[in-house]
């Protein structure tokens, strides 16, 4: 799955993948426009973003103490807390809980942490049947694919592809049934999964937030699958990374107000569910056991460093929805669990800059990701940090290193830089005067292969600036 080091090849293939390009057309109207409308309806939105950022920063600065407080509350409510240093530790804890209880079928709410640790493959290898219940996750599980988006896992697919998968997987249903519309696909999945919900031994969900004040885990869904996953089986396992902690219910409210609006353009997702411990005396339903697995997997080392801000992320997906690169190539091209700008920053932290170093280059630095981030993560800045590290470790391709070295030679000699660029711009201006653009140009093949290069107007930016303001010498 980790093909992050092949981003260029992956992206090239994605640009020529017609069904993918068709599916990606849906992103604008359904994510970007809806978010903009929801934000416009709430005058306090930007102030809430500041509040959300501050809450996360405060929590991260005191994460050790909030973890201790949270754990004490979970235990007080009758739950158990398990700590996982690595992804493998997380998997091993889930497997042990399953084996000790003789579990054969495990329903799963949508969880990026489960994706991060590769839980499904591990369960299958142990002879346990993992059943994804979020519609998008269910579809990609049938296809044996990873999610291509953190909140819309099947956003890369068209309904015809899903219909094909359902015909292949649901063999007991009539061959000639009509599956031409999304509603028919949804109805079929609902029927199949309803039985699975009712017969599962264990339910695994992620968490959007963990509340230190009460020992509560919160999941946010639209389908209700996460709820059926956690209230029907005898055991509810929550798997969450350390930075999901927030101090109080009030703090969670601030974050909830920016989460759904940023993610899907809803004011609130349909189901925001707060779970605290197992079934209480007298309760007629709910799980008999409640376990929380807290995953570190490199996060504690991000604290106090260049990438600490990334731990504010609440996984809304707004950065990828607004990213021109993501919208051009989709999520799979990133070859990592987390795609888009947030993935480009987080992935090298999780798997190392050697493997994930190409991803921070998958950005035009247009800044839209930071502009829409509900917790104001300076994503472009952090991608720049990674690019510096990649360069320092000589991981960049030779062409990039020599190119930058060549540019740096001139940039460090301003007079020479001005002279050379003045001559070059004038020359290009004269050469391109007739057509106003170049269809091909030496050393610019990467650009001109797909579009023309506009011919320069003759003067450099610096010379025009000087002429205008008399400054910059």
């Amino acid at each position: 799955m980790a093909t992050a080091s092949h981003f260029k090849e992956n992206a090239h293939a994605a640009l020529h993948d017609a069904p993918l390009q068709k599916a990606l057309q849906h992103v604008r109207a359904n994510f970007i426009d809806k978010r903009a409308k929801a934000v416009a309806r709430l005058p306090e939105f930007d102030a809430l973003r500041d509040s959300a950022r501050d809450i996360k920063d405060h929590t991260l600065a005191n994460l050790d103490l909030y973890l201790e407080a949270y754990e004490a509350k979970v235990v007080e409510a009758g739950g158990q807390v398990h700590y996982a240093v690595t992804a493998k530790d997380g998997v091993d804890i889930v497997l042990k809980l399953c084996r000790d209880r003789g579990a054969k079928a495990v329903t799963k709410g949508k969880s990026m942490i489960a994706e991060e640790i590769g839980l499904n493959a591990a369960l299958e290898a142990a002879g346990i049947d993992p059943i994804e219940t979020d519609l998008g996750e269910y579809i990609i599980q049938l296809r044996g694919e990873p999610p291509s988006h953190i909140i819309a896992p099947a956003v890369h697919l068209n309904k015809e592809q899903v219909a094909e998968d359902f015909r292949r997987a649901h063999r007991d249903l009539p061959r000639d049934r009509d599956l031409s519309q999304p509603v028919q696909l949804l109805t079929e999945a609902r029927g199949i999964l309803r039985d699975k919900f009712l017969s599962a031994d264990i339910g695994v969900t992620g968490a959007n937030f963990l509340i230190a004040e009460t020992g509560t885990s919160i999941i946010v869904t639209n389908e209700g699958n996460g709820d059926l996953t956690q209230i029907l089986p005898k055991v509810h396992i929550v798997i969450a990374s350390l930075e999901k902690i927030v101090p109080t219910l009030e703090d969670a409210s601030q974050l909830l107000r920016v989460l759904a609006r940023s993610a899907t353009g809803q004011d609130m997702s349909v189901y925001t569910t707060l779970s605290t411990g197992p079934r209480r005396p007298g309760d007629p339903d709910g799980p008999e056991e409640y376990h929380v697995i807290l995953l570190d997997n490199g996060r504690s080392s991000m604290l106090g460093g260049d990438f600490e801000d990334m731990l504010r992320c609440i996984r809304c997906g707004a950065c990828m929805n607004h990213c021109p690169i993501y919208r051009a190539v989709g999520g799979h091209a990133y070859g990592s669990v987390y795609p888009g700008p947030m993935g480009a920053v987080l992935t090298p932290s999780l798997i190392g800059v050697e493997e994930g170093g190409q991803l921070p280059n998958a950005s035009t630095f247009c800044g839209r990701c930071e502009a829409v981030c509900p917790v104001r993560i300076p994503l472009p800045n952090m991608m720049r940090h990674w690019r510096e590290r990649e360069f320092e470790r000589h991981l960049s391709p030779a062409s990039v290193r020599y190119g930058i070295g060549f540019w740096a030679f001139f940039a460090k000699r301003p007079a020479l830089y001005r002279l050379t660029t003045n001559i070059a711009m004038r020359a290009l201006h004269l050469l391109g005067r007739a057509k106003g653009r170049f269809a091909s140009l030496p050393f610019a093949g990467g650009w001109t292969r797909y579009r023309d290069l506009p011919a320069p107007q003759g003067a450099t930016f610096q010379s025009r600036w000087r002429a205008k303001s008399g400054r910059l010498n």
Partner: protein, 233 residues
């Protein structure tokens, strides 16, 4: 990465806490930090609260209704608790649905005149074979048209998710402006720092847009959510 070397004698918990503290440059014993965290947890201060949920009772009820309808719930207002059974019976009849209804032990629901309708009433949690269920809300939030439902024998959580059609009865006096007011009500009922097993904040009926981003109602939870506001309760 430093700190990733497994120290066999440390538990995973201690290893993670030690690594966090090393990264933050703290010991965990600093009194000012501990005080700040304890105060924050104890005070549970509210942050920014949107203006749009605020106002007097009638304004909040109107806002709640409008927002719930925006989220594709249907909303009816009745004068008193005695009118609830006939409203639910009417909804089922108008929607060509069977006159069956499951509910928990909630005293507010139990005191309603169900016998005056032809509804066939079942009690207790759902095993997944019920078409219709009713629960009584703990509170409702004007800001986003959200219902707050607490778990327990009175209103079993399975009733909120398994039936196709979910009815929720809300007393107009339980409509509040914002989520923070729900937390205050919960603390008053269950105690500070304590919670019922489950609190479901529900905003509209179940839905999915996972196939071509086409919004469809009734993904895994209820296809319809009908809210009955009781004015005089």
């Amino acid at each position: 990465m430093a700190g990733q070397k497994r120290e066999a004698q440390l538990s995973a918990r201690e290893e993670i806490l030690a690594n966090i503290r090393r990264s933050l440059g703290v010991t965990g014993a600093e009194a000012p930090r501990r005080m700040a965290v304890e105060d924050r947890l104890a005070e549970a201060r509210s942050g920014i609260i949107p203006e749009r949920g605020q106002g007097d009772g009638a304004t909040q009820a109107a806002r709640f209704k409008a927002e719930a309808e925006r989220a594709q719930a249907s909303v009816a207002e009745v004068a008193s608790a005695a009118d609830v059974p006939s409203e639910i019976a009417r909804f089922l009849r108008d929607s060509n649905l069977p006159a069956t209804l499951r509910m928990g032990e909630d005293a507010r629901l139990a005191s309603m005149p169900w016998g005056a309708t032809t509804l066939e009433i079942a009690r207790g949690a759902s095993d997944g074979h019920d078409l219709n269920a009713v629960t009584a809300a703990f509170a409702a939030v004007a800001e986003s048209g959200t219902l707050a439902l607490d778990s327990g024998p009175d209103n079993p959580t399975t009733l909120n998710f398994l039936p196709d059609n979910h009815f929720v009865v809300v007393a107009a006096s339980d409509i509040v402006g914002d989520y923070e007011s729900v937390w205050r009500k919960l603390r008053a009922r269950y105690g500070k720092g304590a919670m019922p097993r489950t609190v479901n904040l529900v905003t509209g009926p179940s839905r999915s847009a996972d196939i071509e981003q086409t919004l469809l109602l009734g993904a895994h939870g209820p296809r319809r959510l009908h809210i009955v506001i009781v004015k005089d309760a």
